[in-house]
C-alpha cells in the first residue's frame, strides 16, 4: 500500500467495529472519530471493551467487522497495511513494557534506528530531545529496573512519541503506578496535549479526564453508551449506566 501517498483523513475514524472472542462479543458496532489535536478519554467498567478497542486500532487485536482508518490508511490484515498503521500510531501500556535488557536511551533509539532508519547520531539526538521533554534525560544510561514506575512510564511515553505518531494510544497508563507517581505521568500527558498531540486514553482518573479530554466516551458491554464533552458527561450524564459508574469511581476519588 502506498501509505504515505494516501489522502490524509482524520487521525482516527472507526465505523461499525465489532469483535468477538468466540461467542463473546467484545466490541459491538463502535463508531468513533478523533480529529487532529483532539483528546479522547475512554471510561467504563472493567470488561467493557475499552482496552480491546484501543488495542484493535494498532492491530494488537484482530476484529471481524467494521472499518478502521488511521490518518486515511485503512487497517487490513495485510502486513503492509499493519506496518503503515503502526507507523502512524504510538502506544503506551499499563505495564510500561520497556525492554529491560536495553538502557533507557537504547529503548528509545532502537526503534528510531530499526524502524525509522535514522543514523545512530540522529537517533540519539532525537531520543534525548524526547527524554528531555519528559524530564528524565539524566536517566538515559540507566536500565529500566533502576527507575521508579513513574519514570519508566515517562520513558515509555518518550519512546512512543519520538517515533512521531499521528495518534497516541494510552492503555490505563497510570493504573500500575503507586499513587505518588500518578501525577508526574498525568502532567506529562497534559504537556503532550499542550503540544497538540492527538491522543486516546483509557483511564479511571476522572479528575484528570475533565481537565485533559476534548471528548469523553463511556463504554459498557462493548458499546459506546454515551459520548459527550467532559464537562457535560460529569455534570449531566444522560444514561443511567453512566451515572451509576460515575458514582462508583468518583466516590473512590
Amino acid at each position: 500500500m502506498p501509505a504515505d501517498a494516501s489522502p490524509a483523513g482524520p487521525p482516527l475514524e472507526i465505523r461499525g467495529l465489532s469483535k468477538w472472542y468466540g461467542a463473546f462479543q467484545a466490541l459491538d458496532g463502535i463508531d468513533l472519530t478523533i480529529g487532529r489535536g483532539e483528546r479522547l478519554v475512554i471510561c467504563g467498567p472493567s470488561g467493557s471493551g475499552k482496552s480491546t478497542l484501543i488495542r484493535t486500532i494498532n492491530a494488537l487485536e484482530s476484529f471481524q467487522r467494521g472499518k478502521i482508518r488511521v490518518d486515511g490508511v485503512v487497517l487490513s490484515r495485510a502486513p503492509a497495511a499493519v506496518a503503515a498503521i503502526r507507523a502512524r500510531v504510538g502506544m503506551v501500556f499499563q505495564q510500561f513494557n520497556l525492554f529491560p535488557h536495553l538502557t533507557v536511551l537504547e529503548n528509545c533509539t532502537l526503534p528510531l534506528r530499526r524502524v525509522r532508519g535514522l543514523s545512530a547520531e540522529d537517533a540519539r539526538a532525537r531520543a534525548m530531545l524526547y527524554l528531555e521533554k519528559v524530564h528524565i534525560p539524566e536517566q538515559a544510561a540507566k536500565f529500566p529496573a533502576q527507575l521508579s514506575g513513574g519514570q519508566q512510564q515517562r520513558v515509555a511515553i518518550a519512546r512512543a512519541v519520538a517515533m512521531g505518531p499521528q495518534l497516541l494510544l494510552l492503555d490505563e497508563p497510570t493504573s500500575a503506578l503507586d499513587p505518588e507517581m500518578v501525577k508526574e505521568v498525568l502532567d506529562t500527558m497534559l504537556g503532550l496535549a499542550a503540544d497538540g498531540m492527538t491522543m486516546a486514553v483509557v483511564t479511571h482518573e476522572m479528575g484528570f479526564a475533565r481537565e485533559f479530554a476534548t471528548q469523553v466516551i463511556f463504554m459498557d458491554r462493548g458499546r459506546i453508551v454515551e459520548t459527550a464533552a467532559p464537562a457535560d458527561l460529569f455534570a449531566n450524564p444522560r444514561e443511567e449506566r453512566t451515572r451509576a459508574f460515575l458514582r462508583q469511581v468518583l466516590r473512590k476519588d
Binding site: M91, N97, H101, Q146
Partner: protein, 319 residues
C-alpha cells in the same frame, strides 16, 4: 550462593557437645573399617605407622581429620570452598595413584591424545553445538508458530531424537543413510547425529526461554513497528537468554562427553584414541584416566565460559 534470611546460624558443629562425640564416632568407624591398614593411611601417616600400634594410628588419623574439619569450619566461606576443593582433589589424586600407574606410558602417549584426540573432540563438539543451536532455534520457532505443519514437524523431530538412544542415531546416520544412496564420512556423520540429538533437547530449552519473556514485550515491539526478525533478535532472544543459558551450558558439557560415542564409527576422537592406545601395552587405566582428566579440564572451561555469559545477559537485572 547465600540465602539472605538474616539469621546467624551458630557454628554448632564446633561445639564440644557435638564435636567430641563426632570424633568418637569417627574413631569407631575408622577402627571398624580397619583404617590403620589402608594404603592411603600409610601415605598420609607413613612416619607414624612404622613404629605404632593400630590403636595409635587410628587415633592419629582421627585427630588429623578432626583438626582439619575444625580448622576449615573456622575459615571464611571463600577459603572454606577453596580448602575443600584442594583436599578433595588431593584425595582423588591419591586414589588414582593407588592404581600403580605407569607415568612413563602416560608421558609417551599424552601428546597423541591431545594433538589428535582432543582436537577432534573439540572440533566435533564445537560444530555440533553450533548446528544444534540453529536447529533448536528453528524448532522452538516452529513449535510457537501456530502453523500446524511446522508444529507437527518440530514435535516429531523432538520426540524421535529425544526418544531413541544417541548411539542408535549415530548408526542410523552412518550405516543407514548409505541405503538411500547418501554416503557420509564418519566425522560428518557424528556431527550430524550429535547436532540432531542435542538440537532436539535444546528445542525445548529455547521454547521455554522464549515463552518466559512476557507477552507485553512482543506487544510493545510490534506496536513500535519492528519487523518479526528484529523483534526476535533484538528484543526477545536477549531476554530469553537468561533462561536459556544455564540448561544449555549443561547440554554443552554433556555433549562434550557424548561426543565419545562417535568413536564407535571409528572417529579418532579422544576416547577412541585412549582405548586403542591403551590396548597397545595393556595400559587401559592410564589412558582412560588421562582422557577423563582432559574431559574434566574442557568441561571446567565451559563452566567458566557459561558463568561469563550468564553475567553478561544478567546485567540489566543487577541493581
Amino acid at each position: 550462593m547465600h540465602f539472605a534470611d538474616n539469621v546467624d546460624y551458630p557454628p554448632w558443629f564446633r561445639r564440644p557437645v557435638v564435636f567430641l562425640p563426632a570424633l568418637a564416632i569417627l574413631y569407631l568407624a575408622l577402627w571398624q573399617g580397619d583404617a590403620a591398614h589402608w594404603a592411603v593411611t600409610e601415605t598420609i601417616l607413613g612416619v607414624l605407622k612404622a613404629s605404632a600400634t593400630p590403636v595409635v594410628v587410628t587415633a592419629g588419623l582421627t585427630a588429623l581429620i578432626g583438626a582439619n574439619v575444625w580448622l576449615i569450619l573456622g575459615l571464611p566461606v571463600r577459603w572454606q570452598v577453596f580448602a575443600v576443593w584442594v583436599e578433595l582433589a588431593l584425595l582423588l589424586a591419591l586414589f588414582f595413584v593407588s592404581f600403580d600407574l605407569s607415568w612413563d606410558f602416560i608421558r609417551r602417549k599424552i601428546w597423541l591424545l591431545v594433538s589428535i584426540g582432543l582436537i577432534n573432540t573439540l572440533y566435533i563438539s564445537a560444530a555440533s553445538i553450533a548446528f544444534a543451536s540453529i536447529l533448536a532455534l528453528a524448532g522452538a520457532m516452529a513449535k510457537l508458530s501456530g502453523n500446524g505443519v511446522a508444529i507437527g514437524v518440530a514435535n516429531f523431530y523432538t520426540s524421535f531424537f529425544r526418544g531413541i538412544p544417541l548411539l542408535m542415531q549415530i548408526y542410523i546416520i552412518y550405516l543407514g543413510l548409505p541405503q538411500l544412496g547418501v554416503v557420509i564420512d564418519a566425522i560428518p556423520a557424528g556431527i550430524v547425529a550429535l547436532s540432531l540429538c542435542y538440537g532436539a533437547y535444546m528445542t525445548e530449552i529455547f521454547r521455554a526461554g522464549i515463552e518466559s519473556v512476557p507477552v507485553g514485550q512482543w506487544e510493545a515491539a510490534r506496536a513500535l513497528g519492528f519487523r518479526p526478525g528484529t523483534i526476535l533478535a533484538r528484543i526477545i532472544l536477549p531476554q530469553a537468554m537468561r533462561v536459556i543459558i544455564p540448561p544449555t551450558g549443561n547440554q554443552f558439557i554433556a555433549m562434550l562427553k557424548d561426543s565419545s560415542l562417535v568413536s564407535v564409527i571409528g572417529v579418532w576422537e579422544l576416547m577412541y584414541l585412549a582405548r586403542t592406545e591403551g590396548q597397545t601395552e595393556f595400559r587401559h587405566i592410564e589412558m582412560m584416566l588421562t582422557a577423563s582428566m582432559i574431559y574434566w579440564v574442557m568441561s571446567g572451561m565451559l563452566e567458566l565460559a557459561q558463568a561469563r555469559i550468564e553475567q553478561h545477559f544478567g546485567q540489566a537485572h543487577a541493581r
